[in-house]
Structure formats: structure tokens, C-alpha cells
Symmetry: C3
Subunit: 341 residues, 3 copies
């Protein structure tokens, strides 16, 4: 029997609960320090206890997964803790397209794929002296929003940068990346593309709650101006959102453009869940600053089903369950190679 | 067999999914450019393809609807795209009260009905020189929040107005409408009044996410003061909310006052879904700045049921399904004339 | 047959709907002025109409409850309207631990229990002259956030305090309580501890919407600085949130530490629902400013089930239903004394 395996973090509870609901065996690769947490959930059939997640690269762990006919569901933790080379070396079948994860991790490749998919992106600012509008300064690599800061002009940039260097948040020789700040309503658009049905599904929207920028709006301007703390963007959680229905057509178009671009430049394409992340401005124009080429943690808000999936399925359907359904269908029709890499 | 028809936008997916779940035939009046989107949803039985929604006024379209014994569910798009006269001229039975839609569209009639219903409204400011507290400046007509701006005093008003004129957002001779700004927790209260059961139901609360005002709280005061962009109020989406239970009694009272006021001044009254829109201030006092006399897009957040409807129904119930249930009940008991106009 | 009783406010609809779904009789102690509201809900079997909630202390009311084998579910309204002595004098079995409610009401006892549970708390500021970072000034007692204000330094403190005294919001001789302001993502963590199963369950997270502080982020800094209104913190409603899965281990640890601390110092311990309330800072470090030793109103957002409970139960489960389930199980196994005081 096929089983579903994943690393114990990010969205593993949703993924394995969904797999169990679909009647598949569930396996968690679990750090020793988290064993107590995950033992609480009876839908996890087997725990492979490791000291570090990188042990999933070891032959021993992969042998266990092979014995269980496991499909490994990749998520943000896999990407954060292993290099692209390491992920690509994993012999366990990985759900979706493991080759596209490299395009998510590398900023240049990421932007190349986004351009190929015609996703509108924020205007880059190549030099601090060219800051004309409100801009955001980002760090290279997956820093998760820590050390990002907003600036209104060059002087502002220098002041803030020096402050963060003196506070030890960023280093003096770190290359920073400036782009015009896209203000508005943040929206993380999650899709699922099924290579079996050759169909794109829109799963839903979530908003991220980041600290301590989220608290900023609750601090009166008078007090903000009397302190000089630079807010940060550390993701803490997620909440649900629905979009104006008139925006849905463009949402599907963006999703399809992304699927087609991925098919062209990174075979076998964007199979399974993915997320286009951005902001709607005052003209309801979407600007995308990021994508994720696998399940996102924001899907956790819909562990018991999303508004948009309730339109497509006559049952409660989380993204974890949707993935398991695809694996089950592929197994039954002998097409596992179509949905894994 | 009765069928449910609506225009393809706003909340049409929820409305037709609910109708399908109730066993009714579903018809979508669909703009050609959106055909691809709506073909994705198998619960839509028939698409009437049009170039523009106004074709719903044409005899051909109305004949098709008549053949199908269709009840047309009105929503925001119908109101935005047609005049009150045009809506009133539609021969297809319209769910609820088509005559009250005029009261929603016209600011003076709207305020008259709100006063009749005893809804507390923001204090109007008749002249810029009388701005004493934080105020909001609105444009006449259904501009959807674009070009609205906040002002602290007369000087501020003149500066902002001149800026928006020079940016081409508002025109020089446009009449603006000033009212004291009601700050606090925004709450959109949705109800359903059933003329069959003569009962009012409270469906739930949502919050609107507007661009780019929503992003303002994430921009540090220091940077806000260095730019001079005037934020706008373009609705992008909605999220769920529940209220302190101690506020529910007043919520029901407001809903009933509205139903009774409508009965008195615009026969046959406020049948079907409606929404009272406002803000709770620091004393938990509600001020209403708007109403909608039909289903609102905020109901989409509860496509798989709302917290408050889970108290009233022992099944999953969206507003779309609730409407279809009412149509079905009326059809079976030969009372369609009671719930349509 | 055991019945479930509660006061008509706060979360009584959720509690009694859950009880009805579990097949228990439901009784509402209802203020006369709210009778019309609560008569709307058919799952309420019996209303005990009172002029004031304090009549629940009267022999007559308690006799009725006794005849019905009622278990009384305590919530925020009980605590707000009665002294600890009065609550402890109630003869009707109270779900959970009525002795711990005193520890929730008294600030010193509350902090003692939080320290005992190793909950990280905001740093107190003992004197206005020692305000070094952004701080919040709170009033003693359950003022529910009204009159709280933020300050950046001593001068700021004096100005704001004088303003609120002159506005009549606080009184001149009132003792105020200053603590460093913990900025970030607010999170109200709700748990359920079952003494029958000796297991802790994590129910979910909500965010509170407070007026008029919530509206602050939508007022441009320029306008904020031109007015001198001090924002307030009056809770109006709640919305849902999920946390990064990597935070869950610490969440469970905090919950267990709290349960164990309560076992040690206030027998029989923290049975039933409780809530740890705080904020995640930019390092995802949690600081707790409060706890509730009973069901919280934030659980109302999950009247039709929470994301985290959908992991633990293969059915829709609200906190109200969970409580009723526990009462039912205890009744059937003759262990009511284990879950009530």
C-alpha cells in the first residue's frame, strides 16, 4: 500500500490527517525533540525519529520509506533545511516536481520563472540613490522577513541600514535588495494542478500575520515617532480571506500562466499545490513578490476545508486531503510516475 | 421546475452552488470574457452568454429565463451596472424586493430609510470650515471607496482635495460629502428576512479588506510622513468575524427595525438577505454608514456555512443555499409571489 | 438526566447548542431584557428569567438548577458580575474549577499562577520615570481595556494621563499599572484539559478586535498627529488564526505547564477550557499578559469546529460541544465530581 510521508513541521499535521482520511498509511519524519508533540495525533501511523531532518537524506531513512512505498510531500521546512542538490538527490518519490524547488530557492531563477509566467512584479530599485517612492529593503536568501525594512528615500535607507548593522540584525557587507513597496491587501493565492486530470483548481486565499509589523498599526503615530525600532516580518500565523468574485478570472489566468511557464522551462512542470504571493493595490491590480512551488503553511487555516474548495468538492477537502486523493488515484490507475519526481 | 438565475460576478458561485445543493436548476448570465472561468464549475447547469450584463434587459434573455421558470437573484453587480428604472423593468421575478434597490442606490433615499429604521449614522459635516474632528470625505455615487480621503481640519481638506484633483482622481467641480469619521471595529452585519416564516435570521459578520488603506498600518509613521500618497478604499476581499454575544440583542433589534421600516415605506418590505454596514466605537456603540438591500459579497466567506447559521440550522448553510431553500419552499407551497417582485 | 446551564451572554449560544447536539437538556439563566433574543434559538430547552444575573445566587434559582441535575458552565459574564466569594458560594456544580476563577480575577494571584507556570510575562515598569521603551498603561480590575493607553516616556505618560483624567475616563487617584508593551502578533491560545482522559487538547487560536485601537492603522499618520484622541481597547469581536506548526510544541508545553502549576497550587487544577493570552514578537517569542481559567468568547469563532479540533475529532466539534461531551462521559461513568467543583 502507498503511504504518505513528510517532515514533522510546517503543515505535516494537515498532510497526514488528509492522508489518513483517504485511507493511506501515514509516516512522519520527526525530530526527537518534537516526538512528544506528534505522538498526540493518532492519525500518524509511524514516526521515524531523527536528530536532524537532514537524516532523511541517509540511506537508512530512505530504505524505510521505500519499504513503505512512501511518497514524500515536500514543504517549506524541507526547502529551508536542505540545499537544492540534496533535495534532488532524494530517492524517495517526491510529490509534485522536485526540480522546481530550486527555482523557488534561488532569487534569480525565481524571478526568471515569474517573468516567464507573466506575473507582474514590484519594480526593482538598483541603487539607493534611485529610491523615489516608498520602498522595501530585503535580504538575500530565505531570511523569512527578518531584517527587512521600509524606506522613503536614500537618506532614510542609510539611517535604517546603519541602525540595523549596529543592532547586529544585518551585517555590514551584506548585499541588500531594494524594490518599490507594493501597498494594499496582501493575498496568498493557493492552487492545485492535477496532471492526472490536467486541471487547475483554485484552493483559496490566506493572509500572513507577521511580527512585529502587524502590531505597528496599533501604535499611535505619536509614540511610533518617539521610538526608533525597525519593524520586522517574521511569519507567525495565517488567517482566511475570500476575494471579490470579479478578481477570480485573473486569479485563474495567473495560475494557468504559471503552470504553462513551468511546463516549458522546468519539466515535468508545476504539479500539485503551489502559491502565488502578492498584494492587490488600490486599482485591484495584483503585484506578485514571491511564489512557492509546493504546499504552503497558509493552507493550514483550511484544515477543515476552504470556501473555494467547497465549490469544487461535495465534501470537506483540505489541501492535505487533496494531495492524498491525487496519490490514491494515481496509485489505483498505476500513474504514480505522473505525479512524482 | 423553478430555476435560479444570476449575473456571473459578485457572489454568483455561492448562489448557484447553494441552488444546486437544494436541487434547483442553475442558470448563469455570463459575459463572454468570463465564460472560461464559469465553465469550471459543474454545478452551473446553463450559461446564457452575453456581451454585456445589460442584455439581461433584452427580451431574448428574459424569454429564456421565463422558459426556465427562473427567479433572478439580484446582487451588487446588477445594481452597479443598471439604473433603478432598468432593474424595475425586468420581467423575470426578482428575489426579494426590486423596488428597495433604488433606495440603496440613491444617497438621499438611503439616508431616509436609515433614519426611518432608527439606525445611528455618522454626523454629517455640511461645510469644510466646520470640520472639527477627524472626518472622511466621500464622493457621490457608487465609486466603491476610490477617492475617499480622511481629513483633520479645513486646511487639511483643501490640501488633500487639491492633490486628488491634480492627480485626476476627482474632478474640480465634483460635489464631495463630508462626515465625521467613525473609527473602530468595522462590522458588516448580514441578515435574512423570510416573509414565509415572518422571521428574521442573523447570518453573520464579515470585515472588508480595502486597498490600499489596509496596507497603511504596516507603513511606519516616519515613512508615511515622508510620502504624500492619499490612501484609497477599494474592496478586495472579506474575512470572518464573530461579535461579543452581548451585542447580539442590539444587532437583532437593528435588523428588525430595518425590516419594519422597509415594510412601512417600500412595499413589500425587506425580504431576503440584507446587510447593515458600520463600525463599533470604543463604547461598543454601532454607527451605520451604509446598507445593502440584497445579498452582499461578504457572505462569500461563509460559502461552507457561517458560525451563526450553524446555531440555526443543523446542516451547512450558506446564504446562497438559504435563498434557494426559500425559493424551494415558496414553490412547493405556491407562494412565489410572496418572495419575489 | 444531566442538563447544562449557563448565563445568557458571552458564549452561551455555543455552549447550549453544543449541549443540545450531545443530547443534554439546556437551561439558560436569562435577563428579562434579553428574553426575546434567546427565545429565537430552539435548542434552548428552558429559560430561567431573572432581573439580574446575580439572582443565580438565590436559593430559588439554585433549586431549579438542582432539580434539573444541572452543571453550570462559567464564563466571563459570571466573573464580571459576581465576586469570587459569591461564585464560590454557588451550590450548583460548576464545570471545571470554581476556585481558580479567583486567581483569574485578582491581578496579584494571576501573576503568581503565571509565574508558577513559567509563562513569560511583559516586564513591569514600577515608576513612570523608568519608562524606557514603548509601554502600555493599564487600569486595575476588569475594565476590559477601556482607558488603557500607550506611552513612549515619562512626559508622554503625564500628558496622556492628565488628558484622560480631564476627559473623565480615569480618575485622579486611580492606581495605574505600567508594563513594557509587547508588540507583534496577538494570539489567544485556547486549550481543554480533560481530567477524565488526563489529556490536554489544543483547541485553537483567535484574535481579538478591539475598538477603537483597531481603527488606528487606517488613519494616516498625518491625521493622527493632528488629533489628540487616545485610543481604547474595548473588545468587539474575534477572528480565526492558525499558527506556524513549528510553534505548536511550545504552545502545548505552555498549556501543560499551566495545567501542572494549577494542580500544585489550586486544587483540583485547571480542568476544562482555558486560554493563554499574549503576543508573538519578531523572534516568534511568546509573551503572555493574561489567562482565562474558563471558556473564552474567542471560541465563538469556531462554533462549527476549529482547524485544530478537526485534527483531533472526526466530527465537527466546538468548545461548547466538547464541554458537553465531557459532562456526558462523566455522567455515564459516574465521575461528575471529577469534572465539577
Amino acid at each position: 500500500m502507498t503511504s504518505i510521508a513528510t517532515l514533522g513541521s510546517h503543515c505535516s499535521l494537515q498532510v497526514l490527517k488528509g492522508a489518513k482520511d483517504e485511507g493511506l498509511k501515514t509516516i512522519l519524519v520527526c525530530e526527537k525533540k518534537r516526538e512528544k508533540l506528534y505522538r498526540r495525533f493518532p492519525f500518524i501511523d509511524e514516526l521515524i525519529i531523527v536528530d536532524k531532518f537532514r537524516e532523511v537524506l541517509d540511506e537508512k531513512c530512505q530504505a524505510t520509506l521505500e519499504q513503505n512505498d512512501a511518497v514524500l510531500i515536500p514543504h517549506g521546512t524541507l526547502i529551508a533545511q536542505m540545499s537544492s542538490e540534496e533535495i534532488e538527490s532524494i530517492k524517495t518519490p517526491i510529490f509534485g516536481n522536485k526540480w522546481i524547488l530550486r527555482w523557488e530557492s534561488d532569487r534569480e531563477m525565481k524571478e526568471k520563472l515569474m517573468r516567464e509566467a507573466n506575473l507582474p512584479m514590484p519594480k526593482p530599485v538598483t541603487n539607493p540613490s534611485e529610491i523615489e517612492k516608498l520602498s522595501i529593503v530585503k535580504r538575500q536568501g530565505a531570511a523569512g522577513g527578518k531584517g527587512y525594512f521600509m524606506v522613503a528615500n536614500e537618506e532614510d535607507y542609510n539611517t535604517k541600514r546603519n541602525q540595523l548593522i549596529s543592532e547586529g540584525v544585518i551585517s555590514k557587507d551584506e548585499t541588500l535588495y531594494i524594490q518599490e513597496y507594493a501597498a494594499g491587501v496582501l493575498a496568498y493565492l493557493t492552487f492545485f494542478y492535477s496532471p492526472l486530470k490536467e486541471e487547475l483548481e483554485f484552493y483559496g486565499v490566506d493572509q500572513r500575520h507577521e511580527s512585529d509589523i502587524e502590531g505597528l498599526g496599533r501604535i499611535p503615530s505619536e509614540q511610533q515617532l518617539k521610538t526608533n525600532k525597525v519593524p520586522s516580518f517574521n511569519v507567525i500565523g495565517n488567517s482566511p480571506l475570500v476575494l471579490r468574485e470579479s478578481l477570480l478570472d485573473e486569479v485563474y489566468t495567473m495560475g494557468e500562466n504559471f503552470v504553462e511557464a513551468a511546463k516549458r522551462i522546468v519539466a515535468p512542470g508545476m504539479n500539485g499545490p503551489f502559491c502565488i504571493e502578492g498584494v492587490y493595490d488600490e486599482n485591484a491590480k495584483f503585484t506578485s513578490f514571491e511564489f512557492s512551488a509546493r504546499i504552503v503553511a497558509g493552507s493550514n487555516i483550511y484544515m477543515d476545508g476552504s470556501p473555494y474548495y467547497s465549490l469544487l468538492f461535495n465534501e470537506t477537502m483540505s489541501m492535505g486531503k487533496r494531495i492524498a486523493r491525487e496519490v490514491k488515484t494515481a496509485t489505483e490507475s498505476n500513474q504514480l510516475d505522473k505525479i512524482t519526481t
